[in-house]
Each structure stands twice: as C-alpha cells, then as structure tokens.
C-alpha cells in the first residue's frame, strides 16, 4: 500500500495547474514533432532545454518526457497516411498501416494505433512503477554477448517483414547491411566506403533513407498511376475501427505491450527492435499470414503498442541506475543535472518528488494524448480527400524540409532524393523497403556487439553459449530457423 500513497503524492505534484499545463504542452509538442518528419524528439528536447532552466526540476522532466512519449503517438500518423515514417520505430507501421489507408481504412488504423498507444503506454507505466528495480538488474546482465544474440534473433525476423517473397526480403536485408557499413567502423574508427567524403563518416542518417525510400518513392510511384485518386479516396465505412477490427487488434496489442515493455528496458534501440519483432510474431501466429503487407490490422496494433511500451520502459535505466538509454533520455538526464539533481541508483529514494511526479504525469500524459489524438483522426482522414495532384507536391516539400531540418544540410536533402529514386526502382521491381531500412539499423549494432564480445572473450566463440541469456536467445533463433523443416517433416509423416 506504500506504493499507493507514494503514487497519490505523485499525483498531487503532477496535478498542480503548472505541472498539468507542462504535461499538456509536452504531449502537444510531442505529437506535433512526431507528425512532422525529420526533426525528432532529441533535437526538439535539446531546443527546449534552455526554457526549462527556470522551472522546478519536476516540471522540467514532466515537460520533456511528454515530448518524448508524445512523439511516439504522432510518429505513426504520417506512416499510415502518407507512407512516411517520421521516426525509426514507425517504419513497421508503414507496411500495413499505409495499405489500410489505401483501402479506405486510415481512420481504423489511426484509431487502433492511438488506442493501442494509450493501452501500451499506460500498461508500461504500471510496469515501470512496480517492476523497475528488478528489471534494471536484468538490464545489467545484458553484456555484449547477450546483445549479439538478441540482434541475431532480431535480424532473422527482418525476413518476415512485408507480404512479398522471403527471398526478396532477404536480398533487401543484405543491401541494408551493406549500406549500414558506410561510415567509421564502430571498433577501430577506420573509415569504410566513405571515399574521402567526411559527411559520410557518420554513415547514412536513418531518417533520410527511410523518408526517401518510403515517402518520396511512394509519391513517384503514385504520380505514374492515373487511378490514384480513386484508390486513395476514403470510403468511410465508419470512421473508426469496426468491432471485428478491434477484436483482431486485441491480442496483438497485449503481446506488443508486453514485448515492448521488456525489450525497451535494454539501452539502445529497444523501441525499434520490439516494433518489428512484434510484427514478425503476429505474422507467425496469424492464421492468415498472407494478409500481412496487404493491410492487416494486427500488423499495426502489435508494433504500435510495442514501440510505445518501449518508450516508457526506456526510462527505467535512467530512473533506477542513473544511466540514460537513448538520446532523448540523455537530454532529460542533462536537464536534471542542470537543476542540481544527479540521477543515480538512489534517485527514487532521494528525489521521490521527481520520480513519483513523473510516474503520475505519465498516466495523465497518456490520457491527454488519447483525448488529443482521437478527434484529430477525423481531420487526418479528411486530408486524404485532397486530390493527389495537389497533395503530392506538398508531401515532397514536407519531406525535403524535414530532411533539411535534421542537420541543416543540403547534402542530406540530396541523400533523401537519391534514396527516393532507389525507393521508386524497388517498388517497380516489387521489393519491400522495410527489411532494407531495419537491416541498416541493426547491422552496425550487431557488428559492434559481436566484435565487442570477441574482444571481451579474447576471440573465444564459446562466450555466446556459456552465458545463459545469450545461449537461450540463440537457441530460439536456431529453433526458428529449423521450424519450417520440422513442419515439413511432420506434414510428410501425416501423409
């Protein structure tokens, strides 16, 4: 019961008019930058950081945290409507979300994603409140070998993305791995495939590649077809999701939330990995996997729930260990430092107001985001009624301005256009770009983790099998690889 009284104190802090207002502003700004491609949560939080110098520390954290998880809500909007992933975690939402929009079910996809985000976000706050310390201990057990095994498992899932052929998916993943190699290598810092261009030494910026391949590529393909306006026209069969759609989304939502919550605790790309692992799981479990890639609601519900749950649980390393797990949370860490609070293992006991105030504000923030996003759906869907001839140039401008805003660089705009052309070619040849983008993110992480493990073990490969967590993860990977073989054997015996 102690937790309840502490939570009550938290609500007393979060519900003061000032903090309520900051929470609301955070959620609003977060939604806005989630919708706008390019400028992501870390850049926005950095811009707003100086404003928080004069605030109470709890207010500052409430505002900045709201921007971070608010962006997760907004991120799916452009993915569903225009096939533009605003941030890494919503690449997967493009696959089926955009197909739903093309079939006139944009409203349903947006509603499922908003409600799913709310359910997952709230469930994850409950988890954060109750399970933070044991989970932090679990995160500490994740060394390089465990990450390697997790990433191997993740990379295997990439082949399941989309509805096309597995072979083509794997070809795309291979291309993505190659593109991920561009830049300074993560262990020695030697340049690879940079051809003396310093701009390339940090590799291709993920957002630019994704916006080009998906957003620009899609526009180019659509411009070619004269039938587009008819296809995109929203036949409003009930603006929001139907009862069957909710029923289909229910279990994926629950599974996505759980998965996202646990994977999100791991510092690094928890939200991204959990979103597409959730997609792969739903496709595997579905009785009609062929519907995936054609507008399956499960393919939106699971990943959206997963990335929101992961966004919330990614606060756990900061709040319990004092170590930020991603760039946005590192800025919240900086905000606390400037206020003279040094987050560490004792934060919860030394600064209960910050911890419980933040927890309470997250409950409120998720509710605010739901109330904010549901009415917006009507507006977003209206947007699709704009004739494509008018919409298309706006989309291009929107994407290119977004690309420029990432680093204020014209080179980046060029990169986005170039990947747009690649995206067009891929679409023409019936290749799915999602495996490429995800392999590009996972490849360098896997390489770093693998090499780090081997430096740690001084070249001994047994390190992956001696440690229980990595051995278990690799065993799952092997089972997954063998599963078609096993099924084939069973089917043969049955005949």
């Amino acid at each position: 019961m102690e937790i309840l009284s502490l939570l009550a104190q938290g609500f007393a802090i979060a519900l003061t008019p000032t903090n309520l207002a900051y929470g609301f502003v955070g959620a609003l700004v977060g939604t806005a930058i989630g919708v706008l491609p390019g400028l992501g949560p870390p850049a926005t939080i950095a811009l707003l950081l100086p404003i928080t110098y004069g605030m109470a520390p709890t207010s500052a954290v409430i505002l900045l945290a709201g921007i971070f998880y608010g962006a997760m809500y907004g991120g799916s909007t452009t993915s569903i409507l225009l096939n533009i992933p605003g941030e890494a975690a919503s690449v997967v939402t493009c696959i089926d979300g955009y197909q739903m929009a093309r079939q006139g079910r944009a409203g349903a996809a947006l509603a499922v994603s908003a409600v799913g985000s709310f359910v997952a976000g709230t469930a994850s706050v409950v988890g954060l409140m109750l399970l933070a310390p044991p989970l932090a201990a679990f995160a500490l057990r994740f060394g390089a070998p465990e990450y390697t095994a997790l990433l191997v498992l993740g990379l295997m899932m990439v082949g399941y993305l989309g509805g096309g052929s597995m072979t083509k998916g794997l070809m795309m993943a291979a291309l993505g791995l190659l593109l991920g190699m561009v830049g300074l290598d993560p262990i020695m810092g030697s340049p690879r495939f940079t051809y003396g261009v310093f701009k390339l030494s940090e590799g291709f910026e993920f957002v630019l590649v994704a916006m080009g391949l998906f957003g620009i590529g899609e526009v180019l393909v659509n411009v070619e077809r004269s039938t587009v306006p008819e296809v995109l026209k929203t036949r409003i069969r009930g603006l929001l999701a139907s009862r069957e759609e909710w029923r289909a989304a229910g279990l994926p939502l629950a599974r996505g939330s759980l998965l996202g919550f646990f994977v999100g605790v791991l510092p690094g790309g928890g939200a991204i990995i959990s979103s597409f692992v959730s997609y792969a799981i739903e496709k595997k479990l579905s009785r009609h996997p062929e519907r995936f890639g054609q507008g399956a609601i499960e393919g939106v519900a699971g990943p959206e729930a997963a990335n929101n749950a992961a966004a919330t649980s990614s606060f756990i390393p900061l709040l319990t260990l004092g170590i930020p797990g991603n760039a946005s949370i590192a800025l919240i860490f900086a905000a606390l430092l400037i206020h003279g609070i040094r987050p560490g293992p004792l934060l919860v006991s030394e600064q209960p107001a910050v911890f419980w105030g933040l927890i309470a504000s997250m409950y409120i923030g998720n509710l605010v985001l739901l109330v904010l996003n549901l009415p917006l759906i009507r507006l977003w869907v209206k947007l699709l009624e704009v004739p494509y001839a008018i919409l298309a140039p706006f989309v291009v401008v929107f994407v290119l301005v977004g690309a420029y805003s990432v680093n204020n660089s014209v080179f980046d705009v060029g990169t986005t256009i170039a990947f747009g052309a690649v995206g067009y070619a891929l679409r023409k040849l019936d290749f799915e770009p999602a495996p490429l983008v995800l392999a590009m993110i996972l490849g360098p992480q896997l390489e770093a983790a693998l090499r780090r493990s081997l430096i740690y073990s001084r070249g001994d490969l047994l390190v992956f099998f001696e440690r229980p967590i990595s051995a278990a993860l690799l065993a799952v990977a092997v089972l997954l690889l063998l599963s078609p073989l096993v099924r084939w054997a069973f089917e043969r015996r049955a005949v």
Binding site: A46, A139, A144, R342, L347
Partner: protein, 320 residues
Amino acid sequence: MRTSRTLTLMLAALLAALAAASPAPAQEFPAKPVELVLPFGPGGSHDLTARAVASVAHQYLGQALLVVLRPGGGGAVGSQQVIRAKPDGYTLLFGGTGPNTIFALVQKAPIGPDQFVPVARVNHSPAVLAVRGDAPWKTFREMVEYAKKNPGKLNFANTGPWGAADFPMRLIARAAGIEYNNIPYDGGGPALLAVLGGHADATFGFAPQLIPQIAAGKMRALAVTGARRLSIMAGVPTVKEEGFDVTFTMWRAALAPKGTPPAVVEKLEAAFRKLAEDRSFKALIKQLGDDVDFQGSKEFAETWRQEWETAAQIVGAAKK
C-alpha cells in the same frame, strides 16, 4: 502613369537591395550577430556548454551569439564550414579536443591548429577513471600493478574509438607500460553500464554521472586526468600524483578561421574573458561537472600545439 509607378517601385527595390548588399559602413565589430558553429548534434555536453556560453555572451559581445548546429563527419563538417567562411570574425567554431585534435589526426582531416586562430578556451572536462565498487583495487596504483602483473587481463570499456575515454587510457598505458583489453562502447552511458554489469573492469566517466554511483557504493573513482584535483571530487588524486606523467583534458574553445584580423580576434577574446567570469555562466558549467578554465588566444595556441604533438605520437604509434 502605371508603368512609371511600377518603375519607381522597382528602382526603389533595387536601391534597397543594393544598400543591403553593400558592405556595412565602417562600424565597429561586431555590427551583427556572431555565429558559433557547433560541429555536433544537439544535446551532448558540447552543445550544453555552447548554450551556456550563448546565454550570457550578448552582455559582453554587444551582439547575440547564435549557436548553429552543423553535425557530421566526427566534427569535420562543421569545422570545414568555418574554415571556408569569410575570416571576418562573424563565423566561429566551437571546437574541441575530439574533432580538432584527435579526429583531425586519426582521419588526417585538415581541421587542426594549422587551419584556425584560437579566440579563447572556455573550459575543459577532465576524465575520471572509475571501477566497480566491489573491485579489488582501492587506488589507481593498485590497478596499474594488477595490469602490469596480468598483461591484457584488465577489461577497459572506452566510450568509442579515439573518444574521451580511449585516448587518456592510451596515454596512461604508454606512461605506465601496461597492456589492457580495450573494448569500445557506443558512448559514456553504455560504457558505464558495462562496468556496473560486470562486463568490463574500468572506464572513464564525467564527475556528475559518477558521483551518485559512488555515493551508492556502485562505483569507485581512482584518479582524474587533469592537472589539478576536481573541486567536486576533492578526495580523488590526479594521475600525476599517483606517479604517472599524464595530464589530459578535453577542452572546448572558440576558434576563428585563419586570416581573421588580429584586432577582431582581440575583441572577441576580450568578450570571452569577461564571459568566463560571469557568475551565472560559471554556475551552469559547474552543474555540468566542469570548471571554467579560460585561456586567451596566444596562450591557448601554445597549449593546443603541445597537445597536438603528444597526440600525434600516440596516433602514430597506434597506426603502426
């Protein structure tokens, strides 16, 4: 009638454009806001320091100081932009050891002391060597002894190849004659996490991040790399006190492109000198775990040159 009116308007517009384009009358520098180019993305300690500088600069400069982010290429993109800018003092680089000494040497990028005139060094961040709270070594010397007896056994987590942790450890290894297992992590958070989780033995961190870990008994600080002890960690000796001739700090400084008139550099230097004494600026920097450590143009040019030469030896030795 109508045409003549259009013509007049066009003429007026043309004149206005000409007036805007022609050089400002010999007004005193600075006649317009000065751009401080940050060669990194938002949110790092470099960014936070630059914003602390910008928050008080207008009082001493008489003009706003605008922080412009130009990330990319390990700092090379922003650095090169400033080198190519007109050397009139209106475009400065907020440079640092990372891009302008280490990256410049390792990647052979022309963004070092030959390309810039220093304006002023603002501060430096000393690195703190830390081990897990239950580690067998109570002092820096004990750790070095262990590494000497067990070559290659000490697992050291750096914060990225050639980064703020990797470089001082290379200096220490050279001075102490030790071999260690150098494991690169992607930033300070992951490196600290690796030590806390028992996946590595030691790392370099920054004081505000380590202090709460030390208070909770999770980490132990063994030494700092600066020339003096840190005010907020007064109990921790310097590496030099422990008997090894190594001092290394990551500096941050305003740099102007080569060819900037000396009078302009002097003006800027004077503004930075006063800024470094500002109380709210000092307080902000202290919260970030650094001490303000001002050095003027000439003095810092010498410091930088010395650092450059030491670093060149380390880089040269590693590349062999």
